[in-house]
Structures are given as structure tokens and as C-alpha cells.
């Protein structure tokens, strides 16, 4: 191979094989993910207007006005805060509920039955999301399953609704929808823990509880961090749940984006809202990662 040119040598190298192998999916995501995201960023600086033919469009007149509107109008600030608060509470509840399950499957289920448990946990996730959300409405709604159940047991007398507080209903539904996303990364992290560490801890006089707090929990933190992010980021942009559960009375940022993009056809303003929302999500994510960096550093060794 010594006499060949640099290009011929590159073509036969591992890098070239790898690059040509990654090219089809790589080009696909560049064209249909990176380019669209960049287009949104660009459109967010355009001006919503009307073309010569009378159609509504984002005109290529650069401006900061969309951002000014998104960041100063109280309505958008309320929407953003509400989305963030609901996402954060969903994330906390989902991860707190998921940890014991992941722990149970990893530590107390016989190895031969672990796959079955994981399969059982993931099945509900594979059924239609919209139907699941609607069914929560049936469970929590006026004279719903929950209400009539309580009535039958004799705790309450008469039908009642658990949907009056839209935020609670949205939180419960989202916590259900994202449960497997939280359980799986925590389970994987727990599975990786060398069980002899725990025995060592107990041999050195730690109780079960202190072993958990000082050994198991810190070692499983990478999984918890992954779970937090994988729940938090998509829930900020959830559209179906607030629309169905809140009955349109409790819109979140995604509902506002949909209204601007599809109903009002204000594509520039909608883009600015989306970019702002993603920027806030990115900021929270980075802050969260910085706060937890000591757990991640240990893992990357």
C-alpha cells in the first residue's frame, strides 16, 4: 500500500469504511433533522406577513420582534412557567416512583424472571398514547372509575370529579406515560453495580439503609440523571395530554406553538416560541448536569 496516494490509502482505511457506512443515516438526519431545526432558527427571525398572492407566510425580513413578543408578553411567560413547573413535577414524581421498581427488579427478582418483569413494565408504553390519555380522563373524570370506586367502598357519597384541578390530572397522566422511560435507565445503572461492594459495605458495619444511601444510590445516579432528562425534555413539549385532560383550559407551551403554527399560521412567532422553549430546556438540562457532575465523572472512568 506504500506506493498509493493519500486518497487511495484513506479509501481503504477504517475511517473511510466507517464514514461510508454511517453516511445513509447520517445524511438523512442532517437533511431532515439538522436542516429543519436550522430553518426554524432562521424563521424565528423572520416577519409574519402576507405574500403578494395573499397567502400567510413568514417573510424573510429579519427582526427580533418575535423574540421580544415571546419574552415580554405575560401570556407566554405564564405558559412557559406552567409548562416548566408541570414538567418538573412530572419528572420528580415519575423518577421517585420508578426508582423502587427498578430497584425491586434489579435486586429482588430472580435473574431468569427479570426479562419478564421488564416486558410487563414496557407493554403499557406500546399502546396508543392518545387512547391511554383519554382513559385517564375516564378514570379521573366526573363519575369516573375512581369516583365510583370510592363511592362503592363508601369513602365518598355521590359522584365527583378529579379533573377540576387540571394540573394534577395532567401530572398523573404524564407520570404514567413516561414511567418506562424512567425505569429502564435506572434499572440498567443498578444492574451494573458490583454486588460485592454492597457486601463489603455491610461487612464494614453499615446497615442495609446506610449501604443504600452511601453505596447503591450514588452508584445508580447516572441512571437517575438519564431518567430525569429523558422524562423532563419530552414532557415540556407534550401536546396531547394538556389538550385532552385540561380540556383546552390549561394549555402548555406546545399547545400555544400548535395554535400559532397551524391555526393562525404565524410561523415566525411559532418558531421563536419553539426556539425559546428549547433554549430554556437546554439551560435547565445543563444546570442539572453541572449540579450532578460528580456522579457522572465517576462513571466516565
Amino acid at each position: 500500500m506504500q506506493g498509493s496516494s493519500g486518497w487511495a490509502r484513506f479509501r481503504r482505511s477504517e475511517s473511510a469504511s466507517g464514514l461510508s457506512m454511517i453516511a445513509p443515516p447520517g445524511i438523512y438526519v442532517i437533511l431532515l433533522l439538522a436542516v429543519p431545526l436550522f430553518t426554524v432558527l432562521l424563521t424565528s427571525f423572520y416577519t409574519d406577513g402576507v405574500t403578494e398572492t395573499g397567502a400567510k407566510a413568514a417573510l424573510p425580513i429579519l427582526t427580533f420582534e418575535n423574540y421580544a413578543e415571546v419574552w415580554t408578553k405575560p401570556i407566554y411567560r405564564v405558559l412557559m412557567w406552567r409548562s416548566l413547573l408541570i414538567s418538573l413535577s412530572v419528572t420528580c414524581i415519575t423518577v421517585l416512583l420508578a426508582y423502587p421498581i427498578a430497584y425491586f427488579v434489579s435486586f429482588h427478582v430472580a435473574p431468569s424472571k427479570k426479562s419478564l418483569w421488564l416486558f410487563l413494565i414496557t407493554i403499557p408504553f406500546w399502546t396508543s398514547y392518545i387512547i391511554r390519555v383519554f382513559l385517564w380522563k375516564v378514570v379521573l373524570g366526573y363519575n369516573g372509575v375512581f369516583s365510583s370506586g370510592l363511592e362503592m367502598v363508601g369513602i365518598t357519597d355521590g359522584p365527583m370529579s378529579f379533573l377540576t384541578n387540571g394540573a394534577v390530572a395532567v401530572t398523573v397522566t404524564l407520570a404514567h406515560a413516561y414511567a418506562p422511560f424512567a425505569i429502564l435507565p435506572i434499572f440498567v445503572a443498578l444492574e451494573k453495580i458490583d454486588r460485592s461492594y454492597l457486601e463489603a459495605g455491610q461487612d464494614l458495619g453499615e446497615t442495609k439503609f446506610t449501604t443504600f444511601v452511601r453505596v447503591t444510590l450514588p452508584l445508580s445516579m447516572p441512571g437517575v440523571i438519564a431518567a430525569v432528562l429523558i422524562v423532563f425534555i419530552p414532557t415540556v413539549g407534550d401536546y396531547v395530554t394538556p389538550d385532552l385532560m385540561g380540556g383546552g383550559k390549561l394549555p402548555l407551551i406546545a399547545n400555544a406553538i400548535e395554535t400559532q403554527m397551524l391555526k393562525l399560521q404565524h410561523r415566525a412567532l411559532g418558531s421563536a416560541m419553539a426556539v425559546s422553549a428549547m433554549a430554556i430546556v437546554a439551560l435547565v438540562t445543563v444546570l442539572f448536569l453541572i449540579l450532578n457532575r460528580r456522579f457522572l465523572r465517576g462513571n466516565s472512568r
Binding site: 457506512m21 445513509p24 416512583l97 429482588h108 407493554i123 425534555i233
Partner: protein, 273 residues
């Protein structure tokens, strides 16, 4: 080899309560699908199969179903092929820019779907592409490819590299080695990936809603039906069938995934993802 110590009842009780929470809404599907009442509430009003009949007679539903199955089939096929390339590249080769490209391929898994849907809409409108089933497929491939990559990566990882080298030593070319040795070994992974991507695409709502234009899609059809209380039991019947279908497909996918593990000598552990 330390066996599991005495099983604490608290953990087990919590696990069962959690499973009830997970399954509560899904168990209600067949209950209300067979319940002889338009209102979804207890006490039940008696057994009926009329909602299934009503669903079966709904031409709109079949139109939407046909579109959704076309989309699911196409996006599952495309994303499995793209997933094969990505999984092969990331498990077999080292090359510059590998991390960022693979991260970009996996990004839709965490990106809110609303962002994906609207960014594709903005792009298609600015380029002048008409919205149709094709645009939905393009969008769904983005969402399903990360699942394909995850499943196929684990299939390729359990592959013994010495088999490949043995084939080269015996005079096979890279392409014939891939066809004769690697492909049969990862075939179960390919089937599992196809089935999972199909299920994900069939359920997807927001991208279908944004990018389908005037074409009816199953998830958007279901969403629309919830506006009319009289149509809800019919949707429960449809939902029951869809759940059975999904669970069947997943059980099949899991079966193939485990068979693949057994074939390559790996140990079947863990679940999807």
C-alpha cells in the same frame, strides 16, 4: 453466586401496586368496549359486541387505517435499513465524527415531538413540498430510527468478530461475508427492529397530525372521535384490537430478539432499549 435474600414484602407489594397503576387504563379498554352503554362509567350495563360492529362498518376508520399501515410499514422498513448502517458503523468501525453523528441520529428520542413536527413543517413549506403520506413517512423515520439503532446495535454487539475474520480467511469478500454470515446472525434483530418501529409509527400522533395535510391518519382519526361522546365506545373497541395487535407484535419481537441472542451465544437479559 449469592442468591436473592428473603424477599421483603414491602417491595413486592409496591411493585404490584405499581403494575396496577401502569395497567389501570389499559384494562379499562376491553371493559368499556364490551359494555352496553355510551357512557364510560361504573356500574357496567351489560355485555355487547355492537361497538365492534359499529367500528367495522366505519369506512373513515378503514381509510385512516390503510394510510397508517402504509406509513408504518414504509417507515419501519426505511428506519430498519438506516438502523443497520448506523449500528454496523458504530459497532465495527472507528472514524472521526462518530460520536456527534450517532448522537444526532438518536436525538429524536429525547427531542419533544412537537419540535420535530413543526420544524419539518416549516422546512417542507419553505421548500414547497406538498403535505402527504410521504411527508409523514419522512417524519416517522426520524422518530423510529433511534429504536432501530438501539435494537440493532445490541444485535451487532453480541456478534463474534472472529466469525467475520474466518470468512475473510476462507476467501469471502466483505459483501458476501455480510450477506452469508452477518445478515443471518442479526436477522432476528432486524425482525425485532421492524416490528418495534412499526408499532411506534402506528401510534405516533403529533407528526401525523402536522404533516399529513388532508390525508386521514389513524391516530388523528382517534383523536377526532373523542370530540363526539357517542363515538367513544367505538374507539374503545378499536383500541382493544390495537392493544392486542401491539402486544402480539411485541411478543413476537421479543421472541426474535431472544432467538438472536441465543444464536450468537449471548445471554438473553434485559428488555427493549
Amino acid at each position: 453466586m449469592k442468591t436473592v435474600q428473603r424477599k421483603p414484602w414491602g417491595h413486592r407489594a409496591y411493585a404490584i401496586a405499581y403494575l396496577i397503576f401502569l395497567y389501570a387504563p389499559i384494562i379499562l379498554l376491553p371493559v368499556f368496549a364490551f359494555n352496553n352503554s355510551v357512557i364510560l362509567a361504573f356500574p357496567l350495563e351489560g355485555f355487547t359486541t355492537k361497538w365492534f360492529g359499529e367500528m367495522w362498518a366505519d369506512q373513515q376508520m378503514f381509510n385512516a387505517l390503510r394510510n397508517s399501515v402504509t406509513v408504518a410499514f414504509s417507515s419501519a422498513a426505511i428506519s430498519t435499513i438506516l438502523g443497520l448502517f448506523a449500528a454496523r458503523a458504530s459497532t465495527r468501525f472507528r472514524f472521526p465524527g462518530k460520536g456527534p453523528v450517532v448522537a444526532l441520529v438518536m436525538l429524536p428520542l429525547v427531542l419533544p415531538e412537537m419540535i420535530l413536527a413543526m420544524s419539518l413543517l416549516v422546512l417542507f413549506l419553505s421548500v414547497g413540498v406538498n403535505l402527504s403520506i410521504l411527508t409523514v413517512i419522512l417524519g416517522h423515520v426520524l422518530v423510529t430510527t433511534p429504536f432501530a439503532v438501539a435494537i440493532l446495535t445490541s444485535a451487532f454487539q453480541s456478534l463474534d468478530r472472529s466469525l467475520e475474520e474466518a470468512a475473510y480467511d476462507l476467501g469471502e469478500t466483505p459483501s458476501s461475508t455480510f450477506r452469508l454470515i452477518i445478515l443471518p446472525l442479526v436477522m432476528p434483530g432486524i425482525v425485532a427492529s421492524f416490528l418495534i418501529c412499526f408499532t411506534v409509527s402506528l401510534d405516533e400522533f403529533i407528526i401525523s397530525y402536522f404533516l399529513s395535510g388532508t390525508e386521514p391518519m389513524l391516530s388523528a382519526y382517534i383523536y377526532g372521535q373523542f370530540r363526539f361522546p357517542a363515538n367513544v365506545p367505538k374507539v374503545m373497541a378499536l383500541g382493544t384490537i390495537l392493544v392486542l395487535l401491539s402486544v402480539g407484535l411485541l411478543a413476537l419481537a421479543e421472541f426474535y430478539r431472544r432467538r438472536g441472542m441465543a444464536r450468537t451465544g449471548g445471554k438473553a437479559s434485559g428488555g427493549f432499549l
